[in-house]
């Protein structure tokens, strides 16, 4: 079971490395959304700091939506997904490996890029660790929940808008606690509560989402 997990994880990381141009696009998307925002609101520092939690988390959500569409699509198109389903190992384990690889290749980059962006928005340096922690705990949950949606819409040629309708309502708790932690940190309030709740969501996601993803993949394969 573990060997299949590692094999799929290694394969997807290798693929991400070979196609690293795509990762740069995701990062650029994230940076661009954040960078264009002040042009719309005006550069008043107080406004930017106030809206920065919403801004950062909404751009993470949008970036996740765009990148998740390709999570299973190539495997579905070239027949590899059939082999996943036919594997004697549980499909949920394979799904978890794929989501982990996806997160390491895209979510983690957002976490690492976030300090630069929030400092651009004028957020105090002291808040940066909490912001990174909230993204670190929140983005994997986005990947797990989003993978269910993308697995359900796998057989559709253009699923982008539908996917957003399916998964954005499910993203509400992560958005609330993630942006809540960030706001608390900016205002100098304790953010531990929100971070604990994010961690709890992540645990719930890891323990249940892979089974839902596996069931969704099987439905899409039929």
């Amino acid at each position: 079971m573990l060997s299949v997990f590692w094999a799929v994880l290694r394969r997807d990381l290798l693929l991400a490395f070979r196609q690293r141009g795509v990762l740069v696009h995701h990062l650029l998307f994230f940076v661009l959304v954040v960078a264009l925002f002040p042009l719309g609101t005006g550069a008043s520092p107080s406004i930017l700091v106030t809206v920065s939690p919403a801004l950062i988390w909404m751009s993470v959500l949008l970036a996740a939506l765009l990148s998740l569409q390709r999570l299973f699509k190539p495997d579905y198109e070239d027949g590899t997904l059939e082999q996943y389903v036919l594997s004697p190992e549980p499909l949920a384990v394979i799904a978890l490996a794929k989501v982990l690889a996806y997160w390491l290749a895209s979510g983690l980059i957002f976490v690492l890029a976030s300090p630069l962006l929030v400092l651009l928005l004028g957020v105090p340096v002291g808040a940066v660790p909490v912001i990174m922690a909230s993204l670190l705990l929140g983005t994997p949950t986005l990947g797990l929940v989003g993978a269910i949606g993308t697995a359900l819409t796998l057989s559709l040629p253009r699923a982008g808008l539908l996917l957003s309708l399916l998964i954005f309502p499910l993203y509400v708790p992560v958005l609330i606690f993630g942006a809540g932690a960030m706001r608390a940190a900016i205002e100098g309030l304790p953010a531990a509560g929100a971070l604990y709740l994010l961690a709890a969501l992540l645990m719930l996601g890891i323990s249940t989402a892979p089974f839902a993803i596996a069931a969704a993949l099987k439905i899409s394969m039929e």
């Binding site: 079971m1 309708l165 954005f168 509400v172 708790p173 609330i176 719930l204 439905i219 039929e222």
Partner: protein, 272 residues
């Protein structure tokens, strides 16, 4: 590792594997199996729908009449509280409908029961329209009470997200071409959604206490008078029965759509 592929596609296999030790469970399965017979369902669903419709409409009408006419004026809200006689039953139905969809969805996924799949698909538009009704009446009630059409109050926000969950199920069903995959996908989505409903509600409440300074409702919640409460309960029960009635009719349509090429459907319509 061994995986059972065709788990319980056939009732006989289920019995063979589990033997008589689970007779009670089997009796339940037998009932499910009989009720799961599609021609049987199509035949009996019509009188059942009628049996739900008559008391449902009567109860709802009695409740609404009681609320509009008999209930005394609320000393704080004036006559505006009479909106609640449709708002509260609608809000109750929005939750009841989604939960019932999720239960049917779980049954559909585990036992591959076609009727349960159809229920999920059939209940979604009914539930969505009552959720919409709850939101609209809530905001109409809110205008005179709060002075604004919309507040980001925890309950209203949760209700809005619940509407999105419903719309997601409907959109997914419309998007997938194969009726079988579409119904199964909706079943899974409703199960995933129902796990999230309490989490969403909790998170929205958490957010609300954080950002909403003064409480939004100007009024406390004094114990309701019986003359006010009684019609409300009747209306809620009546709406629930009506939900069953409307969903049954939707199920009949979906069933015909899916089975239109089968022999039994042709037989039903050639005899008639």
């Amino acid at each position: 590792m061994v995986e059972t592929h065709y788990a319980s596609t056939q009732f006989t296999i289920y019995l063979q594997r589990n033997g008589v030790g689970v007779l009670a469970k089997s009796a339940f399965m037998l009932w499910l199996h009989r009720f799961g017979s599609l021609p049987y369902f199509y035949r009996v669903s019509r009188p059942i729908a009628l049996a739900l419709a008559v008391p449902g409409v009567l109860l709802a009408a009695y409740g609404v009449y009681g609320g509009l006419v008999n209930a005394p004026v609320d000393y704080q809200q004036g006559d505006a509280f009479r909106i609640l006689y449709i708002h509260v039953p609608s809000a109750w139905l929005s939750l009841f409908g989604y939960t019932s969809m999720a239960i049917a969805g779980a049954v559909a996924l585990v036992w591959r029961l076609k009727l349960a799949e159809i229920f999920v698909v059939a209940a979604a538009p009914v539930g969505a329209s009552f959720t919409f009704l709850a939101l609209v009446t809530g905001s109409i009630w809110g205008k005179p009470m709060w002075g604004t059409w919309w507040v980001w109050d925890a309950r209203l926000t949760s209700e809005l997200i619940l509407l999105f969950l419903y719309l997601g199920v409907i959109a997914l069903h419309n998007a997938i071409e194969s009726p079988r995959s579409a119904a199964r996908a909706c079943a899974l989505l409703s199960v995933v959604g129902v796990i999230n409903v309490p989490i969403i509600h909790f998170s929205v409440e958490w957010w609300n206490t954080l950002h909403q300074g003064p409480t939004v409702t100007r009024f406390g919640r004094p114990a309701m008078e019986m003359a006010m409460l009684w019609p409300l309960l009747c209306a809620a029960l009546g709406f629930t029965l009506m939900f069953g009635w409307l969903t049954l009719w939707n199920m009949r349509v979906q069933l015909l759509r899916r089975e239109r090429r089968s022999r039994w459907v042709k037989k039903v319509f050639s005899d008639a």
